[in-house]
């Protein structure tokens, strides 16, 4: 099956007063229909910028997609006109944002907002769109959806708002949903419910899903494949199973080691990654991770490592052959 989304060598830079920020620097990945991809990394590693670039939502200025291709259903999204990309947004590709408390307009009813993509893309009447949104809200398990469509966002709890956001995303039955930290601001119990819901819905509708998160647990459970990002580049990619079972990049190994686990002896110390994520204005030369890497050799500060296969469906960008 051909790829639904094929991102090739994407470069998104921000031109700031202090200098050039290469927020995304040569990212390539692909996604098949119905597949779930996890995009993992620390804050500021370029996960969200990658997602916003796909929908061309990078504020310009200061941001700009300077290179690469984003092939979606055979079309390069970067080359589309403003009207054409607008027809893709919310229709073929939907996005769910991380702040359920502020991602809904406080002066419009939930029904109006869930209807919005349907009205924009389907040209249906308001009444029909409202009926459709009741169905959608029911499908995201909002009880008494018929009356809740008349409610305003401040009547909803965080979890319910995020459900409404998911309903809004599903409105036009998109081929791809990008969820940017969809559960970060929520209680753990609600997180699990919502992820389960999203997984089921995407399975039922055959929608592909990109989950952007810094939560490795989320990815482990729900993603088919995982891309680990560091300083604007993908440093490791592979199936979720291979990355969790056999992480090969020192950064991924470090990430795993810094997550507390219940099944570990409490006397086992967590091993944090030393140092700070790099300031993207001054990315270290060579492999951006080398100043924090315990395996770094002489070659690392000099040449940027390209992704290379270490296994079937498992690539890393590292000069060393590290095994956990």
């Amino acid at each position: 099956m051909s790829a639904l989304l094929d991102v090739k060598n994407l470069q998104t830079y921000f031109i700031t007063d202090d200098g050039l920020v290469k927020a995304v620097d040569g990212v390539s990945f692909d996604l098949r229909e119905g597949e779930t991809l996890g995009l993992v990394g620390e804050s500021g590693c370029g996960k969200s910028v990658t997602a916003l670039s796909i929908l061309r939502l990078i504020p310009n200025p200061p941001g700009k997609i300077v290179g690469g291709e984003i092939l979606f259903e055979g079309r390069d999204l970067i080359k589309l006109s403003e009207d054409e990309i607008r027809a893709v947004r919310g229709n073929r590709i939907a996005m769910i944002f991380q702040e359920p408390m502020t991602s809904l307009n406080p002066v419009l009813t939930i029904g109006r907002q869930v209807s919005e993509p349907i009205i924009v893309h389907r040209n249906t009447s308001k009444e029909e769109a409202l009926k459709e949104s009741i169905k959608l809200l029911t499908s995201v398990k909002i009880p008494a959806a018929e009356t809740r469509v008349k409610a305003y966002p401040h009547h909803f709890s965080g979890g319910m708002r995020q459900r409404a956001m998911i309903a809004m995303g599903l409105g036009c039955n998109p081929k791809l949903i990008i969820a940017d930290e969809p559960t970060t601001a929520l209680d753990v119990t609600i997180q699990a419910q919502l992820l389960e819901l999203m997984k089921n819905l995407t399975r039922d509708y055959g929608t592909a899903l990109i989950i952007i998160t810094h939560n490795l647990g989320v990815v482990a459970r729900y993603a088919d494949r995982v891309n680990v990002m560091y300083a604007g580049r993908i440093v490791e990619k592979g199936t979720a199973r291979s990355i969790y079972g056999d992480p090969r990049h020192p950064y991924t190994i470090g990430l795993m080691a810094s997550v507390p686990r219940l099944d570990q002896d409490t006397k086992t110390k967590l091993v944090p990654i030393e140092g700070q994520p790099p300031d993207l204005l001054y990315v270290p030369p060579g492999c951006a991770f080398h100043p924090r890497c315990i395996y770094a050799s002489d070659k690392c500060p000099q040449v940027v490592p390209e992704l290379r296969a270490v296994d079937a469906n498992h690539e890393i960008a590292c000069w060393e052959n590290v095994k956990k």
Partner: protein, 299 residues
């Protein structure tokens, strides 16, 4: 003049408060309660003028010209023997009509201009705001006089002139709000769901930016009533025989020593109206900003 308005209303997030909560807060605010009572009085005067006024405002009683207060004419009569009380009651119509229409006009123009400037940003914003600054430099009364002279006197021309001048404060307020609101996640979410620029502007940005406009409108309304009276004072507003406070003030001014009430009464009405709308504006400002709620009590 508009600077004062703009400065009072710094851009801030539209507080999410229910209509009822705002109403309750306005009524709790002592000054705005006074304002509301006066405004209700003025509006009823304008609306029920034919029933309230003891005489036809244009009917002359030539036996009582320039008479002081009496049982027949409570406030006395003017220089051509018309009942002053009736003319003041009818005069509320002119003042309120000019005030409301010109405020509506300038708030609409200003909101649209501020919305576009704030949303588009960059060069558009720069150019539009410099034009706004230029308009702000124009001395109002002089411009009103010049334009009224060019267009000819009359109420419609005064309204147009005030609308053409008064939008600057509104534009600045809305622009400031839009600059803040457009960064909020729901605007990005709307864009991500494929909404057009126009849809984002009118469905998301404008409704979340208008709260301070309500406050500014109330204060501007009072200001416009005053400017209208000033224009009428110079003979540019309502034309005879229409009853107008500004004109009565002007005519009465000549007879100040004989019948002081002839100019004091319309002057008091103008002051009262301007004050009432300012009080309401103050109350609205505090009511719409929950941080200030309750402080009105101390006034």
């Amino acid at each position: 003049m508009t600077d004062a308005i703009t400065d009072q209303i710094e851009p801030r997030r539209a507080p999410r408060v229910g209509f009822r909560a705002v109403l309750r807060a306005i009524i709790k605010h002592k000054l705005s309660r006074v304002g509301i009572i006066i405004i209700i009085m003025l509006v009823s005067m304008a609306a029920f003028a034919p029933w309230l006024a003891p005489y036809d405002p244009n009917k002359q009683d030539l036996y009582h010209v320039l008479s002081g207060p009496s049982m027949e004419h409570w406030l006395g009569t003017d220089n051509v023997g018309r009942d002053l009380l009736s003319r003041i009651i009818y005069g509320a119509r002119v003042s309120l009509m000019v005030g409301v229409l010109s405020t509506l006009l300038s708030a609409t123009i200003g909101s649209l201009i501020g919305l576009v400037a704030g949303y588009k940003g960059g060069v558009v914003d720069m150019v539009v705001m410099r034009i706004t600054d230029t308009f702000m430099c124009i001395p109002w009364l002089v411009f009103v006089l010049v334009l009224a002279a060019a267009l000819g006197p009359g109420l419609i021309n005064i309204i147009i002139t005030l609308g053409a001048l008064g939008w600057t404060g509104f534009a600045r307020i809305i622009r400031g709000q839009v600059l803040m609101v457009r960064e909020l996640p729901y605007v990005e979410a709307a864009r991500a769901s494929g909404a057009t620029g126009r849809r984002i502007m009118f469905k998301h940005l404008l409704p979340n930016s208008v709260a301070p406009i309500i406050v500014a409108s109330s204060i501007t309304l009072g200001l416009f009533i005053m400017v209208e009276s000033a224009a009428a004072f110079f003979g540019l507003g309502a034309q005879p025989p229409t009853a107008s406070w500004g004109k009565a003030l002007r005519t009465g001014y000549a007879y100040l020593e004989i019948v002081p009430l002839f100019s004091i009464a319309p002057g008091a009405m103008i002051t009262l109206a301007v004050l009432a709308f300012n009080f309401l504006g103050d109350g609205l400002r505090d009511a719409l900003d929950p941080r200030l709620r309750g402080e009105g009590e101390k006034l």
